[in-house]
Structure formats: structure tokens, C-alpha cells
Symmetry: C2
Subunit: 424 residues, 2 copies
């Protein structure tokens, strides 16, 4: 699947980067090149080898960890091996959050050890943990509506369940707000800690972690329960007896760290300073394997660039592949890239990335200037044989890492991957 | 789903226990009762309440653990509350195996922490763990064929992958032999430890544990890797560089423990000493929730008995529901029951249990004396409207716990549940 994804990105990039004078209409020769790419790129194992190598030789890469640093060296070396003309890094500085361990148990009325993971940005508890009564809410809105008196001094639990879908829409509607906004809301009402049902559509005892945001609130320990453990807690709460939890999180922010975006470029033959940007983020959460979020994203972009590099003629414009630093804790790499390149934004012709796993792309959308709409239509035609629809009415911000550079003016194509199984 | 399962068992039990003089042909009145049960039992929440209560108020129940003892009291109390005429326990003694923790990491050529669980019966390692080079095999047959020289002093890894199916056949063909037989085979060739790919069809980082058997071999530390971790180890081994693992297991057998089978009986009106036996096992592995393996089994049987108890007339023969002790480590409860009741085996008319989760029953099979074949055919007719086939050509041993009492002469019906998702 990563090969096919890589191909879609290669077609989009080649078509965009081959464009002649103004990137408003793609010449026939460039479209012919894109069509040829459909054949050659499918045979290129570069994308698969990239993600297999990164996950095997490095593994998960929590931002600011030792593996994060090793991964930057690995990616830079691989970019060179893939034949990029230039490879460089650009510094990215952000708060360093570390996880050392977590433990939680229901202590009354029925003792149970719970499976959970601290959220990124969560402070730790005091060493022995904290114990408090739990108050449960079905939704974030119920928590918002709750009087402070019922929350103060308690551990808040919020437990809506996500449902799987192709557009992964429940993540934005349900999973993400409960995690990103819930802890701050609970904190402002005086809660001592916050637990949520993992943002996920699976039913196993592995929690799904992610970042939370305490802007404007006092940080409180916050963690995600595995879905069966959330079910259990709800069943206990349903019995109506006072329910207490002991929660011990050993984690927190420890100063700042300077990592880097790693950038590889295939230099264009005619207008080398104009470029197409694609990429993914190099960091990953620590409990996973670091493959689908988002090793695959960089691999897909690197594979696409490799296929383009192998063409008889290099593209008119440059192709940049960016392995972004620390997306998970707040798009730090994407923001640093946007800041560093704001002055040359007019030279960034188009951008696109993959950050929703490695399943099939079913739709593209784009946000470009009106005069470039035709060119996007042509790109859409070039990838249509791969079963990809084009929704001209919807906007596209390019992907999480690229959203910042898109916000300062870069045109973007969004590749919509099938997310039905992504949150399992 | 547990309600429907309960119903199937109730129909089978009622039809069996209602039989008149000789249980070779079921009278029409009894079949009428069984048909009425189809309506009433579907409305009875007893089975669901049982499993929800056991998992919420007790939780996982590793044999010989504190929760195991609490669960016996819980089940006895629930049996009484459900209106069983008699409730009693029978002692079961077995080796006490304890798990305190496990850790493993690939130390060369690429450092990775691995997610794993020690197998039941595995001894621990010395406190600091053991470090050794890994030798990998695709199948148990490849390990059997390997010369001792390539195994001695090493950690053996065996990694076949199970595929999901309705009959769960890969568990018997692939998953179970690699776990139950592999460690002893590796030990006899001089291996210092044994790792396997979890018996499971999922793709998450939760390992699946189970028991192993060191009969005739020196016990060596043995553990199951989560499936993605097994993939990772295979990818590392594939690179052909010497691969070392440090393995630390804190577990082992600590003397013996005496638990109990918990038995509830609805006493028959005409032939109270003749009885139908159904049940499940009370113990469960510790990392799960203790629901589907096999809290659901006892719940289904208890629910069936409850539905029968609610009939206008009690059955001619008695109905026994047994919550068996320690199935997971070697069918100890089932064997103890068989030994304790061997003398009255002629009074055990028929037995059946559920121990393959809580999904739909799609087939029944039976092993009974030839003159009772007709009666089984009648039971099959009674449950046919629920979509259950009857395969008269195949034998049925009743289920794991009942296999021992079946072996000493009790006729048995096997309820084949859909196992497509059971090993996820």
C-alpha cells in the first residue's frame, strides 16, 4: 500500500513540478511523464524499504528522545542514499516532555488495576500518586455543563466512544476534543486529575495516547484509559457507590529541547528555487512501532521523490521532502518550517503529505489560487486511474505538518486516506 | 449474544433433563417445554448480568490469586441468588504459578524494548535477566529439525502466524503447539529461553499468554511476544546480523494451592440423582478482563439454568452448573471433578459447556451411546430455529473442562461457537 500511496504523491509532485512558466496549466509533456510514472513507481520498493528500515533499525521516536536523534541521522543518511541532491537540517525547539511510567487502580468499591497512558504535556503526580473520588461524564458537553461543586477535588472521567468511518470523522468530533480540551476544562472546575476513554475504535487493552493542551488552565495529571478499562470504570460507576482511583503518573515537561526538521531536495532543472513540498513527521508516540503515524508519511514522500529522481529528465522545479520534528505535541516542526521559509513562500508552488496511516487514498481536495484550479484538475485526471476521486468543492490544507506553511500562503493538495481502520 | 448462547444451552439441557424413563428419546411434552424456553430465555438477563457482575466486581482471576478466591465466593453467592437448590464446592489442588513482571529488549544490533508475557508454568530468569543470541524458526517443525549445535546456549524464537477462521482451527494447528510443545523441544536442544509469536490473529501490542508444558524437559524461561514485536524481531533477524536479547522474567511455580470447583444444582423432580452438567472455568489469565475466557461460559450456563428454574415445572433430572477451577494451567478443575464423580458417572446423563468466547453457536456435535442418537437429533431440531446446524458425523467432547469427565464416560454435546474474532 505504501507503494501506491507513494505513486499518487509522485504523480501529483511530478505534474506540479514539471509545470512550465506559470504553474496554472500543466503541459502535455509533463502529464505524459506523470502517466509513465504510474508504471515505474509501482515497481519501486523505496517507500516500503524506508518504513521497514526506520521501524526496524530505530523504532518508536518520542520527540526529544534518544531515538528521535538517532532517527534524524538515519533519515538524513537514507535521503543521501536515495540520491537527493541536497540534504540538510533546520533546528526546531520545543518543550521536552518525558514519560517514565504510569499506574492507576480503582481502590473502591472493587479493586482493579487499570491500563492507561499519560497524555503528552501531562504533569506527573506526586511520587505516591493521588487518590480521589471519580466523577464520570458521558460527553465533553456534560462536563462543560457540570457545576463546579461536583467536580472540585475529584478525578474527572469522560468516556464517549468513537465509531470507525472512512473519513475518521469521529476523531475530530469526539476523540480529539475529549483529549485536547477536556483536561483544561476539568482543571478550571477544580478537578485534581482527568481520565478519558482512549481516542480509538478498537477494543483491546492498549490505550491510545496523544497530546493535551493546558493553555489558560493549571496543568493537572491527565491520562487515557484503554477502551475495555473505560468500559469497566463505567460499569463500576453505574453501580452508584463512591468510586475512588489511585493515580500515579511519572512524567512531565523538563525544559526545552532542540531537534530538527530533516530536508532532502531534488533540485529542479529550470526553476530550482521554486519547489513542491511533501513530507511527514519523524516523531511518533512511544508505545507504538512508529510505523503508521507517521514513518509511513515520510516513506511515501521519499518513495515518490525517488521515483521522480529516476525519470530520464529531472523536473523543472525542485522537490523537497521534509521529515518534520515533533508534530505530535503541537506541530512544532511544521511551524518552524513555516517561520523559516515565510520569505520564500512565493517559491513554494504546492505541498502535500500523508499523515493518516498507509491505507488507500480515496479522494483529493485542494486549496490553491483560482488560476491554478485547472492544473489541480489535470493532476486529478492523472491519478484518477488509481481510483482517486477529486472533490473540487472542498478545501485542502495539505496535512498536519504543512498546515502552518499553507497558512502563510503555500497552495496545498490534501490526500484523503481511508481511515476506517486507522484508529484501531 | 450471551443470552442467545444461554438459550441454546437451556434448550439442550431442558430437553435432556426432561427425558423420561431412559434418555434415548425425548417425550413430546419435554420438546414443547424446550420450544417455550426459546421465548422466555431470550428475555432473561441473568447470563449478561452474571458476566458483567463478575468482571466488574471481581475482574481477571489468575488461578490461585486473591481474585480467584474472591470469585469463588462471588459465584457461590450468585448461584444462591439465582435460586439454585444446592450450592457447594469441591477442592482442587494444583501448582501455584505466579507472575510478577517481565521485560525483554533486543540489545543488538538495534535496541528495542519488546512487549511480551511469560507463559504459564514458565520459570523466572535470574534477577538481572539472561542475555543470549537469538535463533529464529518459522515453524515448530523447523525447530524440531534443527541440529542441536545451532540451538544450544541460545534464545529460540518461533514465529508462525495464525489466521482467523470460524472454527478457530489455526489455534490447534499452529498457535497451541508452538506454545505448549515448543519450549520443551527447545529445552531438550539446550536453548536457554524460548520466545514465540503470540497465539492470536490480532495486530496489536498486547501479547496473548497461555500455558506451556515442560513434561520430560528442564523448564526454561518462555514468553509470548505481541504480534508486532514478533514482526520486528523477524525484520531484525532478516538482516543477518548477530541479534541478542536480554530477557528478564519474574515468575514461577511456588508450591501448591487448593482452590475449588463451585457447583450449583437445580434438583430434578423425578430422578434427582441423574443430572445434566454444564459450566465453564472460573479462572482467567491476568492481563485480560476475565470476560470471554471464560466468565461468559459460566454465565451462559448459569443463565440457562435460571431460565429452566423459571419454568412451571422443574425438570425430571437435575441440572448442575460447575464453575471449574484452573482450566488454563492444565484442566485441573475438570480432572478433579471427573475423579470426584467417577463412581456416579452413569448418573451423568449429558454435559456441555462454552469456552470459546461469546459469539454465535453455528454447529453442535455430540458423542453419545448409539441408542441416544435420536435424542440428540431431537435436541438439534429444537435449536435449529436459532440457526444452529447439527453435524451427526463429527464427535463432541463437551468442552475443555468437561473433557475429563467425558473421558470417563459422560455423554457430551459440543457447542461450536464462531471463533473468527475470538483470537483477536
Amino acid at each position: 500500500m505504501v507503494r501506491t500511496l507513494s505513486l499518487v504523491l509522485a504523480l501529483a509532485a511530478a505534474a506540479g513540478a514539471q509545470a512550465a512558466d506559470k504553474p496554472t496549466r500543466i503541459p502535455d509533456a509533463a502529464l505524459k511523464t506523470a502517466n509513465d510514472l504510474r508504471e515505474s513507481a509501482l515497481k519501486d520498493p523505496a517507500a516500503w524499504d524506508f518504513v521497514e528500515g526506520l521501524t526496524t533499525e530505530i523504532g518508536p521516536r518520542l520527540a526529544a528522545s534518544e531515538n528521535d536523534a538517532k532517527a534524524r541521522e538515519w533519515v538524513a543518511a537514507r535521503f543521501k542514499a536515495l540520491g537527493f541532491d541536497k540534504v540538510w537540517t533546520e533546528p526546531v525547539t520545543y518543550p521536552k516532555w518525558v514519560r517514565r511510567g504510569e499506574h492507576a487502580e480503582i481502590t473502591a468499591p472493587y479493586p482493579h488495576v487499570l491500563s492507561l497512558l499519560a497524555l503528552g504535556n501531562s504533569p506527573g503526580t506526586p511520587a505516591g500518586g493521588i487518590s480521589a473520588e471519580v466523577v464520570g461524564f458521558d460527553t465533553i458537553d456534560a462536563l462543560k455543563a457540570a457545576p463546579e461543586a461536583g467536580v472540585r477535588g475529584r478525578i474527572v472521567y469522560v468516556g464517549p466512544r468513537m465509531h470507525a468511518s472512512r473519513d475518521g470523522g469521529d476523531y475530530g468530533r469526539v476523540g480529539s476534543p475529549v483529549r485536547t480540551q477536556g483536561p483544561a476544562i476539568a482543571s478550571r472546575k477544580g478537578a485534581v486529575a482527568y481520565l478519558l476513554r482512549s481516542a480509538g475504535t478498537d477494543d483491546n487493552r492498549l490505550p491510545h495516547t496523544g497530546v493535551t493542551d493546558f493553555t489558560g488552565a493549571m496543568p493537572i495529571p491527565a491520562a487515557a484509559l484503554a477502551s475495555p478499562d473505560a468500559d469497566l470504570l463505567e460499569n463500576v460507576l453505574k453501580r452508584g457507590k463512591p468510586t475512588t482511583i489511585r493515580l500515579a503518573l511519572d512524567c512531565g515537561i523538563e525544559g526545552t529541547y532542540t531537534g530538527a526538521n530533516v530536508i532532502g531536495e531534488i533540485t529542479g532543472r529550470a526553476r530550482p528555487d521554486e519547489h513542491f513540498v511533501m513530507g511527514g513527521h519523524l516523531d511518533s508516540w512511544d508505545p507504538g512501532t512508529g510505523a503508521i503515524d507517521d514513518g509511513a508519511g515520510i516513506a511515501i514522500a521519499a518513495g515518490a521523490a525517488h521515483a521522480i529522481k529516476a525519470l530520464p529528465q529531472r523536473p523543472a522545479r525542485s522537490i523537497r521532502v521534509v521529515a518534520f520534528a515533533n508534530e505530535e505535541a503541537g506541530l512544532f516542526g511544521g511551524k518552524a518550517y513555516a517561520a523559516a521559509h515565510a520569505k520564500e513562500i512565493a517559491k513554494a508552488v504546492l505541498g502535500s503529505e500523508s499523515d493518516l496511516g498507509a491505507d488507500r487514498i480515496w479522494k483529493i481536495t485542494a486549496t490553491v489560487t483560482p488560476d491554478a484550479r485547472d492544473a489541480i484538475g489535470q493532476i486529478a485526471e492523472a491519478i484518477k486511474p488509481l481510483g482517486v476521486q477529486y472533490d473540487a468543492a472542498e478545501s485542502g490544507h495539505g496535512g498536519s505538518d504543512l498546515s502552518a506553511v499553507h497558512a502563510v500562503g503555500m497552495a496545498a493538495v490534501s490526500l484523503h486516506q481511508d481511515a476506517t481502520r486507522y484508529f484501531d
